[in-house]
């Protein structure tokens, strides 16, 4: 079976900063994969490269076998990305935002699925509210909804619970777990290591643009008996 995401020797520099220094990893279909690392480790650059927002200097990235540069249309169709920043278009309400995002992916008349996403993210009551009037947590939910409108098989969540209250976090993870259970591949970056420990089957730890550890969560934990993932994280980065 093709990997959901295949990253081979990806290098990216921004001037003198080496953001990615030859990253290679495969993420299998249906995995719940954690991409962890301190600030500046290269997680967001890697995700942006996967999403086509950043063009690597060398190396290749494929989504379900489709190169993100050469075959970008198919690769992007297979990918749903929740960006890290809390961004929104102030001209539209929640439903309009989701309809527009569906259209960008070539889908008209998507209201049944939009209603389902709204219900699952507890946004039904906000469907006709302008984006400007939503709280930060609500805006974050809409970002998640936008990434899901085209039912992508690979979903990338770049710190989706940053600044989000506990209730939403739990609801969000319940929904994402369900999608993962239905076969969607989930790639998660987060600073909440207990979330990664609870959700991810496999974890890559990044430091200074490199993958310094890549294994199943169980193996990583077994290598440091009695330690929490946070302690594993700190020890691995220090070594």
């Amino acid at each position: 079976m093709l990997p959901a995401v295949s990253i081979v020797d990806v290098v990216k520099r921004f001037g003198t900063l080496q953001a990615l220094a030859g990253v290679s990893l495969d993420i299998g279909q249906g995995e719940f994969f954690g991409l962890l690392g301190p600030n500046g480790a290269g997680k967001t650059t890697l995700i942006s490269s996967l999403a086509g927002l950043v063009r690597p200097d060398s190396g290749t990235i494929q989504v379900m076998g489709h190169d993100v540069i050469r075959d970008f249309r198919e690769a992007r169709r297979l990918l749903g990305v929740v960006p890290q920043e809390l961004v929104f278009d102030p001209f539209f309400n929640v439903r309009e935002t989701l309809r527009i995002q569906s259209g960008y992916f070539g889908i008209r008349k998507n209201d049944d699925w939009i209603d389902e996403i709204l219900a699952n993210l507890d946004l039904t009551g906000k469907a006709d509210v302008n984006m400007r009037r939503l709280s930060g947590g609500m805006k974050r939910r809409v970002l998640v909804a936008q990434a899901l409108v085209h039912k992508p098989p690979v979903i990338v969540l770049d710190e989706p619970t940053a600044g989000v209250d506990v209730e939403l976090r739990q609801g969000l993870w319940q929904f994402i777990r369900r999608l993962n259970g239905e076969g969607h591949t989930i790639i998660l970056t987060t600073h909440y290591l207990e979330e990664a420990e609870a959700l991810c089957n496999r974890i890559a730890l990044m430091k200074q643009g490199r993958v310094v550890a890549l294994d199943t969560t169980a193996n990583l934990m077994a290598a440091h008996p009695g330690a929490s993932l946070e302690e594993v994280f700190v020890r691995t980065l220090q070594s």
């Binding site: 950043v54 063009r55 960006p83 527009i100 259209g103 070539g106």
Partner: protein
């Protein structure tokens, strides 16, 4: 195709939802120009045998078409870049040619709506005839398209609103104001007449005006050729930048 149509619809709605600011305000500005310049000069000036107020109206219409087409694409892109919402159009599988076409067409639409608004608001002041409507449409659409594409370049290039403002104030405004909106270039000294021939906006205004009066400073065919050539060059430049992802994809 659906991606293109959605982006076009979104760009249309973006200005239509604030039409008071994006359509009504420029119409009022043009009306004020007409009232002031028309009042001062109508009894004293004729151009090509046409009363000054009549001569002025097509120029004002075209000036607003161009300026608003530029404003639409440039403001949309810079707002999206500064707020970060540009990712919503960069993540989906929209080809760069569809991206270009949607922004330019939306810019043309806004330009044409403002132009029509100016025409409807000012036509009561004079007995304005339309001699060649096809020339009017051709120059309005091509001019709007050219300035919509220029707006895309400005919006992509600018990282701050003041950079966009300098593009607008130091390039777009002089090009439009010194293009013969308010005068025939044959009223200028020979040197400035020559300089005016290097301003592509002069050909847009002159060709557009030909559609109303059947007279112009240069042959409308020549103007059309110049405008088509400029549109082709600016479009090619914009498409090349989009293909490279210049300032959009790191």
């Amino acid at each position: 195709m659906i991606g293109f149509l959605t982006l076009l619809e979104k760009e249309f709605l973006r200005f239509w939802k604030v039409a008071f600011q994006t359509v009504a305000a420029p119409v009022l500005t043009a009306l004020l120009y007409l009232l002031i310049f028309g009042h001062v000069l109508d009894d004293h000036v004729q151009v090509h045998g046409v009363r000054y107020t009549s001569f002025l109206i097509p120029g004002l219409v075209m000036m607003q078409v161009l300026q608003n087409a530029f404003a639409n694409s440039s403001s949309s892109l810079i707002q999206a870049k500064i707020t970060g919402s540009i990712v919503f159009v960069l993540l989906p599988p929209i080809p760069y040619s569809a991206f270009f076409a949607a922004y330019v067409l939306a810019a043309v639409l806004r330009g044409m709506m403002v132009g029509l608004g100016v025409l409807l608001a000012t036509v009561w002041f004079v007995d304005l005839k339309i001699v060649a409507p096809l020339w009017i449409m051709a120059f309005a659409m091509l001019g709007g398209g050219l300035f919509g594409a220029l707006g895309m370049i400005a919006g992509i290039w600018s990282e701050k609103f003041d950079q966009l403002a300098s593009f607008q104030n130091f390039l777009i405004m002089p090009l439009t104001m010194l293009s013969g909106v308010f005068y025939s270039i044959y009223t200028l000294p020979a040197f400035w007449q020559g300089v005016s021939h290097y301003n592509p906006v002069f050909y847009m205004i002159d060709g557009f005006r030909y559609g109303f009066f059947g007279v112009s400073d240069v042959a409308p065919e020549t103007s059309l050729l110049v405008v088509v050539a400029c549109f082709a060059v600016v479009s090619w430049g914009t498409l090349s930048l989009l293909k490279r992802g210049w300032k959009l994809r790191a």
